[in-house]
């Protein structure tokens, strides 16, 4: 059903370039927004404290200075309301980028996202469309407790009509956000709060990254680690450790859960015969379940061991640091799982 969106004058990028200047994840998001707002006067930002404050994470700092309060709109604390306003604006020709400060708050907007935005195009027989981006956050270990630490991308990944993006590097963040803004459909874009300061190479020149194309972040032969968002960084760290021990891990980042690049995942699983799926959402009924079962089916005859899933522990995220740190996968726990899979434990 999915065909990559046409990207006017965009170099379609794969993998991460070398030798480019380094900027942070937050800067990459800001650049993508600024460039798209310059390119297309219909693009605007709406959300809480997005203007002068530039969001509590300062991701949008400066945008209001360039584009003014007409295009960087501060709202009341009304997530359902301004998400719904985004849907209506998108249906009538605008390209809203809705800012939901903490991913936990999408719980307040699920009717607007799942019952309205996701279904309008289909219910109208294709006559109406909702080219809207919902930018929100995910990720724990920020000591923000149970209502400010969830990674709820599994909910929206379950809803037909939505596209779901989980960038893991500054390069991917910029390229994927541009594609999201140019997409004709509602896109939910999850940014891990803990990565905003992460630096990485991002070229000066224009580029965009298509949806549904997984990125092999590191090649390997013994075990495949499929990881999303900040878990990609965790997986890469684990792969480094494993390499020192003679275990060659391949790290694959699907980059979008919808559409999902099943081909690339299955091919890697066929090659290594061992797979770990790492994601920061709760493990039970989470994104790891879908990816693991797709691989278990697609690579059934080539797997040497069951596909292993590592998600966030199935508990509300506790505040106490000593407890919170236990709830999410770490480079250590991923490496340990890889050793077990490879019979080295």
């Amino acid at each position: 059903m999915f065909t990559p969106s046409a990207l006017p004058g965009a170099v379609v990028g794969h993998g991460t370039p070398t030798g480019a200047r380094e900027i942070t994840f937050a800067q990459a998001i800001r650049e993508a927004l600024a460039e798209e707002m310059r390119r297309d006067p219909l693009v605007f930002v709406i959300g809480e404290d997005v203007a002068e404050a530039g969001t509590p994470f300062r991701v949008l700092s400066g945008l209001v200075d360039e584009f003014g309060r007409e295009r960087v709109i501060d709202t009341p604390i009304s997530e359902a309301g301004f998400t719904g306003i985004g849907v209506g604006a998108a249906m009538t020709g605008m390209r809203p980028v809705v800012d939901i400060m903490f991913g936990d708050f999408i719980a307040l907007t699920m009717d607007q996202i799942a019952n309205q935005a996701a279904k309008v195009h289909y219910m109208s027989g294709g006559k109406l469309k909702v080219p809207m981006v919902i930018r929100t956050t995910m990720g724990a270990t920020r000591r923000s407790a149970a209502q400010h630490s969830q990674s709820l991308h599994a909910w929206v990944s379950h809803v037909p009509g939505l596209r779901v993006v989980l960038p893991s590097t500054p390069y991917d963040a910029k390229g994927l956000l541009k594609t999201a803004i140019r997409d004709e459909n509602p896109v939910v874009f999850f940014e891990d709060k803990m990565m905003y300061q992460l630096k990485g190479p991002v070229p000066e020149e224009e580029y965009a990254i298509p949806f549904g194309v997984a990125d092999i972040k590191r090649e390997g032969t013994d075990v495949t680690i499929v990881a999303t968002s900040s878990m990609v960084q965790v997986a890469l760290a684990a792969a480094e450790t494993l390499a020192a021990e003679g275990i060659s891990a391949e790290v694959i980042d699907p980059r979008t859960t919808v559409p999902l690049d099943t081909e690339t995942l299955i091919q890697s699983a066929r090659k290594t015969g061992r797979v770990i799926v790492v994601d920061e959402g709760h493990e039970r009924y989470g994104v790891t379940a879908e990816i693991a079962s797709v691989i278990a089916e697609g690579a059934f005859y080539d797997l040497d061991a069951p596909v292993k899933r590592m998600g966030a522990m199935d508990v509300p995220i506790p505040f106490s640091p000593v407890l919170e740190d236990l709830t999410v996968p770490t480079a250590g726990s991923v490496a340990a799982m890889a050793r077990t899979l490879c019979g080295r434990a």
Partner: protein, 337 residues
């Protein structure tokens, strides 16, 4: 008569706008179209020719027709589960409406939407909605969009008084008021939320709820299309000129059940109440009598109109009944644009 008050409560009475006989007769024709369309829908249901259920607009025709008569074709509306009247009033054809209700490809949504999701963007209809207050955000967003794009389009958001139970309505009305958006919230107060009387679901005052958000309120007799039209014309003018949102309360009544299957209603509303409204407050009769009094029409004329409309409705339902269903391959189409 339409009474329009500012958020501060100042009263100002206006006369119904003086418009031509032809325009009144056109409105009458539209109301008859809705009436006969809905009676046909009920017939399709009782004869088991229509899949699912439908919420009939019979009795409330003056609201949709009176409000939409004050709109331009490029103005937007959003509608509800009880949306057939709004769609027809904004310009939909009975043929494609029936086709949609029967799940046929010729329907407004290729049969994928059905009774509660008819959308007709060409006529400015952004779609009916099966979530109570579900289109409040969409309508307000359309108004923001019109303002940002620099058009002078007005958006009308239709909903029943039950929608005042949904918090999102207050969220978006607050933003519409803050940002002076060109949107008119039209509350069809038919006294019941499904099977529960409004008095048991709504504390305080409807109008005060909008006024508290700094929104101007107009409260009218929804059975008298002249009052509805006058208030709507005033509201549309004001919002188009940038005065900000308006809230219209139209007192009305659904003559039939909550949906076509809601036949035994005495446990939630008395027969006498229904009979009284139908006898004394039928919007078609109210307008017809006024036109007769003004020598703008007579029984013969109204019969001729009804006759013509009935022919159209019959042609429409025949068309729909024989129209083909969508091809099976349609099921996976239009999930993504």
């Amino acid at each position: 008569m339409a009474r329009s008050t500012t958020a501060r409560g100042k009263q100002q009475v206006r006369d119904p706008a003086p418009i031509s006989r032809e325009q009144w007769l056109e409105m009458y024709r539209k109301m008859v179209t809705i009436r006969l369309f809905e009676e046909q829908v009920n017939e399709l249901y009782t004869s088991a020719k229509m899949p699912g259920l439908a919420h009939l607009y019979i009795g409330e025709e003056a609201v949709a027709v009176g409000v939409c008569a004050a709109l331009r074709r490029d103005d937007y509306i959003t509608s509800t589960h009880r949306g057939h009247g709004h769609c027809l009033a904004k310009g939909a054809s009975v043929h494609r409406m029936f086709a949609e209700l029967l799940g046929k490809e010729a329907g407004y949504c290729r049969g994928k939407g059905g009774s509660m999701h008819i959308a007709d963007p060409e006529a400015g209809n952004l779609g009916a909605n099966a979530i109570v207050a579900g289109s409040a955000g969409i309508a307000t967003g359309a108004a923001l969009s019109a303002k940002m794009r620099g058009t002078d389009q007005v958006t009308v958001c239709f909903f029943g008084e039950g929608a005042l139970g949904q918090g999102v309505l207050y969220e978006v009305m607050n933003m519409a008021s803050l940002w002076k958006l060109p949107v008119i919230y039209v509350c069809e107060d038919n006294l019941y939320n499904e099977y529960t009387p409004r008095s048991e679901t709504t504390a305080g005052s409807l109008r005060a709820r909008a006024e508290a958000l700094g929104i101007r309120v107009a409260e009218v007799d929804g059975q008298d299309i002249r009052a509805v039209y006058a208030a709507a014309r005033d509201a549309v003018e004001r919002t188009r000129q940038g005065e900000g949102p308006m809230f219209m309360i139209c007192h009305t009544y659904r003559f039939r059940g909550h949906h076509v299957g809601d036949v035994n209603r005495t446990y939630y509303r008395p027969k006498e109440e229904e009979q009284q409204w139908m006898a004394e407050r039928d919007p078609l009769k109210v307008l017809a009598q006024w036109l007769i009094g003004r020598k703008m029409g007579d029984a013969g004329l109204f019969e001729r109109i009804e006759h013509e409309v009935r022919a159209d409705v019959t042609a429409g339902v025949d068309f729909a009944l024989t129209a083909p269903y969508p091809d099976a391959s349609e099921v996976t189409q239009d999930v993504y644009a």
